[in-house]
Subunit: 318 residues, 2 copies
């Protein structure tokens, strides 16, 4: 059967959604409302790009390291879920009145719009904290002892990968990654930006978590230092193309398909790739970054889906 | 030389402060302001109760497990620092306009009062995220391989303790611990509370992190399942005594010594132990919880400082 991207994408999104649902807490107890807010925020939809990247790069390197054994996706589920929790908490806090003050996201009320302002703050905190509770479930057995959990890898080797991936994940989510980018973004809203400053914001705010997803997946699949160095530019290529495409859609997009109000960057006086370089250059740049990404993917073992995924992101209208 | 509590307490607070400073990020880069806000928040002072508890219980169990070797406090520093970062982020977010809307803490402007509302949100996020970056430094060697890091324990055994302590820490900081307590606290402000609801809030909002500190320290020192079960009530005893003493000081305290405005609970229409049971009963209850705590400590090996610490917390005016 011929490869159909939409079918393959849907399959992966469904797998991510099932995996997330498995880790969510029961809505119970006196503090029930914060659990409802947590679950509501992460189940409100989303493209699930980051968990899918973890999954794909885990598969590529798992097959490369051990061609005889099919990738066991269950063992990376804590990372896929934690990554989406981190991405979601950043959106929940971004939407707060103190930040972008958005009442709608993906056509639904934002978390603070639905659960109140205080619960918006606490639900974001809860998601970030719960990401740690979830990711620590990736360790092979609580006590590291006894029989090895998996046939193809010792507990010690697996746990070593988990620690490495955890360090990558939270470093790129923090002040030297996503939070650093958000800080400069907030700081500079309404002020003119140089090209370097704009690149800095995009690199940290958007690319950091995308590259963390790629690298975490690769590390969990057994990638070594050289592999990681080779993969390092890929997160920037995909992230920059993604973000500039966002800037384009903010002008040319169809609100119903895009799921966000069109013209919001102009309304918020935001400098974007389009305002800085113009629409034509922006479109060229999306293509250039995408070609760079495809060039890297060409040098990796079979990854038909990843290539189609990168092309689809660059051409997306949603 | 006779035991002098104040000298011993000061020594430990100084040790905690030095340890925290060692882990703090350099104030550099375009995102400098968020790093300044992070450092400002955690260096604004505080009693450092939680890191001190980690240190003491690590020492008690480390000596019990291995009487020949002096406790190596350096290896638990990531936990001491991470714990204080989690406590600090909860205060930073608690002070936000969406929550308690406090402009002063410990006589200094709160984080959002000094760095702006958006940076108040982001600095709290940054602290929680940085706590994970810090705590993962506790693992013995990045790659778990090679020679064992410590003479008295294998890397595998040490890493096993680190994972166990991490799970404890973030479970008790999250929706089933501190965040859960804060949620109900916010939800119920200005509304009447039953005794059970008040206990629930105190258990989760205050006791959860205190017991996490005790148990993390013990686990890192080599405590087993039976030890942890024995220690479990201690966090509640110390936390409840601490919180009810806070309620008392909110009425009887001296603002300059206490460091918080007196009468704030009444102003915020908060139900406290004192409003529910009266001042006399509240004082009796602090004594009862403290006696329970001392009863547990009596059954542990030498811990003169801990006993004095528990007594001092119950009688404190600050």
């Amino acid at each position: 059967m011929a490869f159909d991207f939409n079918t393959e994408m849907k399959k992966r999104q469904d797998a991510v959604n099932r995996c997330i649902e498995n880790f969510l807490p029961d809505e119970d107890g006196l503090q029930k409302i914060i659990i409802e807010a947590l679950n509501y925020s992460i189940l409100a939809g989303g493209k699930r790009i980051r968990p899918i990247l973890i999954r794909e790069f885990y598969a590529i390197f798992s097959r490369k390291t051990n061609p005889e054994i099919e990738p066991d996706f269950e063992r990376i589920e804590p990372f896929m879920t934690a990554m989406e929790m981190i991405h979601t908490y950043s959106l929940v806090h971004d939407d707060l009145p103190a930040m972008d003050n958005d009442m709608l996201r993906r056509g639904k009320p934002t978390t603070h719009a639905k659960f109140g302002h205080a619960n918006g703050v606490l639900a974001g905190d809860a998601l970030l904290n719960y990401s740690v509770e979830t990711v620590t479930k990736a360790f092979a057995e609580d006590d590291f002892s006894g029989e090895d959990c998996y046939e193809d890898i010792t507990n010690v080797e697996w746990n070593k990968r988990v620690v490495k991936a955890m360090k990558l994940l939270y470093t790129r989510a923090g002040i030297f990654g996503m939070i650093g980018g958000q800080t400069v973004d907030v700081e500079k809203t309404g002020k003119p930006l140089t090209a370097d400053e704009l690149d800095f914001i995009y690199e940290l705010k958007t690319c950091a978590l995308i590259s963390a997803s790629i690298l975490c997946g690769a590390v969990l699949g057994g990638a070594g230092i050289k592999d990681l160095a080779f993969l390092e530019p890929l997160g920037s290529d995909i992230g920059m193309a993604f973000q500039i495409r966002d800037d384009i859609l903010d002008i040319e997009g169809d609100e119903k398909v895009f799921g966000k109000p069109i013209g919001s960057d102009e309304k918020n006086c935001k400098t974007t790739w389009v305002t800085l370089y113009g629409m034509e250059k922006a479109k060229e740049k999306v293509k250039a970054y995408t070609d760079d990404a495809l060039g890297i993917l060409d040098k990796l073992p079979e990854n038909e889906f990843m290539k189609a995924f990168v092309k689809a992101l660059a051409e997306r209208n949603y």
